[in-house]
């Protein structure tokens, strides 16, 4: 199952894309209480929102974005268009999800 959840509402020629991504957004500053060692950073660095495979928003995130990031953007498009959200973490992990508006 994808870590990306998406809800799209179409209004005219604009798609309001709301998305919740399941990701720890670990800062690398916290200590594991059991072992006393720093928990390594693990967070989303780049994220793209594309409509029908054309990138409309290119975002850079950092550790200052909350755990399980919520992202809301308004992209051009209409009902029936394919919206794809994809991300890459600092560890090089990627995930993507496509939803039809």
């Amino acid at each position: 199952m994808s870590s990306i959840k998406m809800r799209i509402s179409a209004a005219g020629d604009v798609l309001d894309v709301k998305s919740l991504i399941e990701q720890v957004m670990e800062t690398g500053r916290l200590k594991d209480k059991a072992t006393g060692k720093l928990i390594p950073a693990n967070y989303i660095q780049t994220l793209t929102v594309a409509v029908n495979d054309k990138v409309a928003v290119e975002a850079n995130l950092s550790v200052a974005v909350s755990k399980n990031p919520y992202i809301n953007v308004k992209v051009p498009g209409k009902k029936g268009d394919k919206v794809t959200i994809a991300y890459t973490t600092n560890e090089g992990k990627t995930d993507s999800e496509t939803t039809t508006a």
């Binding site: 660095q45 780049t46 850079n60 995130l61 950092s62 200052a64 755990k67 919520y70 990627t94």
Partner: protein, 156 residues
Amino acid sequence: MQSNRRVFLKGSMAASAVGLAIGAGLLTPRAVMAATWPEQAYNTKGFDESLKDLFGTTGPTESKDITIKAPDIAENGAVVPVTVESAVAGTDNIAILVKGNPTPLVCNFKFDGAQPFMSTRIRMGKTDNVIGVAHAGGKLYMAEKQVKVTIGGCGG
């Protein structure tokens, strides 16, 4: 002399082989696969330095065309909802910054045909101003809003 020439030739052949492999798509460096993350801008501790690294300029002017929405009081600094919208024509990038955080730059959104609007949830260490900066036509515009934080979002 002769042997040096041999070594040089060998070296350049090896180098061109790697170049060909990249060109043919056999090796795909991470930088090529995804848009690169502006590491320097995100790791620097200064507000102006972050903007300079990200946009190549700094000194944003306060503008009424930038709308920033955030709560007056955030009980939990780990989850502060922030919305930034720009009415400046030609806005192609919006960034959120919090000066008091260990690294001020929180996130930035580059728009290519999308509306200059973004909403997300951020972490704040303490009571501070959340700053929204929009980049339009080589200039920076900003708006800020104070958020009182009761419990910081950086400790554990």
